[in-house]
Symmetry: C2
């Protein structure tokens, strides 16, 4: 017998029929002898409907009242799912965030969980009941309703699993697991049986939006085994675990993430003096533009080349800021490119295997792909290439690092 | 400065525009120096939408979960109204039933209020905030969400007014007050400035569905001055008060209520023996048919005539039951009429004035209206007449008892 926390997102509970299907699924787990806590999101579309109502009232809704408003979305789902479970003979009981209670700080619309009381849940589980909890919401220490921000239902599930010391936290979604790379680009992309938290974080932050980053961090921190699987088809999904042993069988690279959302800007021949990075990036940061990769090379004769990437939407704005900076510095020359793509190899195996970088560069060179920027971290190597080479590069790397489906 | 509890029903908050209009109205009261607690219902249509969802899941929804579900309707409204108030510069804060808390018993879907904590409300009022409370809902002593049953928002308002010792509880609705009779039948019907709780109860139970009966009982019990007025037009409405003095100016009759919903059945020449009423009405009650008026006359030679009224929809069913009873008794003969109407004069003034009944009977006789049944209580006289005479009778009585508009 295992204690399992399951989370079903908005699409999985998007209609009454789907809610009934989730009830059948949950009841089957319970019949198989497990104890089940279910976390649900609002029915798909509902949160947007509620936000729409608030926007008709005001452009700046009171954050406290926004939380009162949108938290009703999940409350509707927990009631309907509990009814559906009771209807098929599986005793169930719903809880709002405030009823558990899931205590949070008082930062409305992006609250953080501080404490979860497991007493009521434990009593229900021992009585054979399925517990249905509203995701995404909590209550502060003054009894105000709070929400964790959009997508926060994953975090609720992980936090409940941690509090209950659950055997597994299962995130049901519309994909059947985490893939070595985007299957729409590489048809040989393979579902991973397992991936480490660190790898998942790198994959998630690079656009493989299977899980909310925060919930993965949370699961890693509290050592909650996390599994991603499909609501709509059978299968084991992908288990996200702590990398507590060196698995010799495990490939060096777990996956390849990529994004086309970036643009790069280079200041050439800037004076190589202390504080030059701040002089260039300071005004960019002040304009609330997020900078991703940063590379600096020493150029000729005491000058330096300084390159960084920003979100593609910010390209024009950033360019304008830099033109002004260069004028003020009285030096340098600006170039830029918004037709770039970033490709990252991710894998904890990198730590113990030399040569990942050289194999990557070699592979790209053989395909005639020029590397424009390189950035490395302990478990990730990222390169920037011209956007037109993206698919070619990803497919070549997928094969070179033995990630292709073998069947 | 007065402390006022205001209740706005589903129609009054049925759209975002109407919610904004309510906010303006409330803010004006606050600017005029009053402290305001607002109780709101779900936006019109919302409760039915939620019930519809539950019906798609199951024919017998778990009552506990039904309360979790439908209570979201009011929660949406309190958030939107609070936002609208904040938007126009009037600080406001919303509370669900559980947040106040409004403590109830644990009878889901028809809970009764047991205790209201006024601490938080008092603090907000003293800080100059408008308090916006979700009507119709509460929380039991185990933290489960409860609802007071449909229309229970009036009761919430009265209960809050009692707990806060408010100066007045104002019920905003789509009519501008309580009338001497239905203005659609008598165009000279007049809005009453005041009416007593007792009279209001008699009027309400007879089909003048301006207020929920339970909220009127509640207001009477706790001596809360209750005012019915329109959300959509200006005016003082009707004040419902305790009859604490004899007002010599007050007319003997306050209003005339009527209903076409009834049918009458008569058992003639039933044996006049003890238990005969039970023999006739017992099987009717067992079939869950509610009996309204009952009249028994001693007939000729130890036999009795027994007449009663039921809802018109139950006429055929009741007739069938009686046919069987008569057969079993071996006596009696059955007649019936489902084309009747009941007309009631209501007024606390009746207590101290003799002759109301005779004036009523005289008025009807002059119009050629035959009285088929009579029933009296301390502040009410009801008669049953053929339905075709209804309008004629009501108009004649309205004039005879000096209820007509004088302008």
């Amino acid at each position: 017998m295992a204690l399992i926390v399951q989370k079903y997102g908005g699409t999985s509970v998007g209609t009454v029929e789907r809610i009934k299907a989730v009830a059948e699924k949950v009841a089957k787990f319970q019949r198989d002898g497990h104890q089940i806590v279910v976390v649900v999101s609002a029915m798909s579309g509902e949160t947007n409907r509620l936000i729409g109502l608030s926007q008709e009232i005001t452009a700046e809704p009171t954050p406290r009242e926004m939380d009162v408003l949108v938290s009703t979305g999940e409350q509707v789902t927990i009631a309907l799912l509990s009814m559906a479970l009771n209807e098929i003979g599986q005793p169930a009981r719903s809880y709002t965030g405030a009823q558990i209670p899931i205590q949070t700080d008082n930062v409305h619309m992006k609250a953080r969980i501080e404490k979860i009381d497991e007493l009521k849940m434990r009593a229900d589980l021992n009585a054979g009941r399925v517990i249905v909890v509203a995701g995404f919401q909590g209550v502060d220490f003054d009894g105000n309703i709070t929400t964790l921000g959009r997508g926060g239902s994953d975090t609720t599930a992980v936090a409940l699993a941690a509090a209950l010391k659950a055997d597994e936290c299962q995130i049901y979604t519309d994909v059947d697991g985490v893939y070595t790379t985007d299957p729409r680009v590489v048809d040989k992309a393979r579902r991973l049986e397992t991936i480490t938290f660190e790898e998942m974080l790198e994959m998630a932050s690079l656009g493989s939006k299977v899980l909310q980053i925060r919930s993965v961090e949370f699961a890693g921190k509290y050592n909650v085994p996390l599994r991603v699987l499909s609501s709509f088809q059978e299968g084991p999904g992908t288990l996200i675990t702590v990398d507590d042993e060196v698995d010799m069988e495990k490939p060096v690279i777990s996956g390849i993430a990529f994004t086309r959302d970036e643009a790069k800007l280079t200041v050439r021949n800037a004076p190589d003096t202390p504080g030059i990075a701040y002089k260039i990036l300071g005004p960019v940061g002040e304009a609330n533009i997020e900078v991703d990769m940063i590379v600096q090379n020493v150029g000729a004769q005491g000058a330096t080349d300084f390159t960084f990437t920003v979100h593609r939407n910010e390209y024009a704005k950033t360019k304008k800021i830099l033109e002004k900076s260069i004028q003020e510095m009285g030096a340098g020359e600006l170039t830029g490119d918004d037709k770039i793509a970033k490709i990252s190899l991710v894998g904890v195996g990198m730590r113990s295997h030399a040569g990942v970088a050289s194999r990557m560069f070699d592979t790209l060179a053989k395909e005639g792909v020029n590397i424009e920027m390189i950035s490395t971290s302990e478990i990730k190597i990222s390169v920037v290439v011209a956007e037109k080479y993206l698919e070619l590069a990803v497919r070549a790397l997928h094969t070179a690092f033995e990630l292709d489906k073998t069947d």
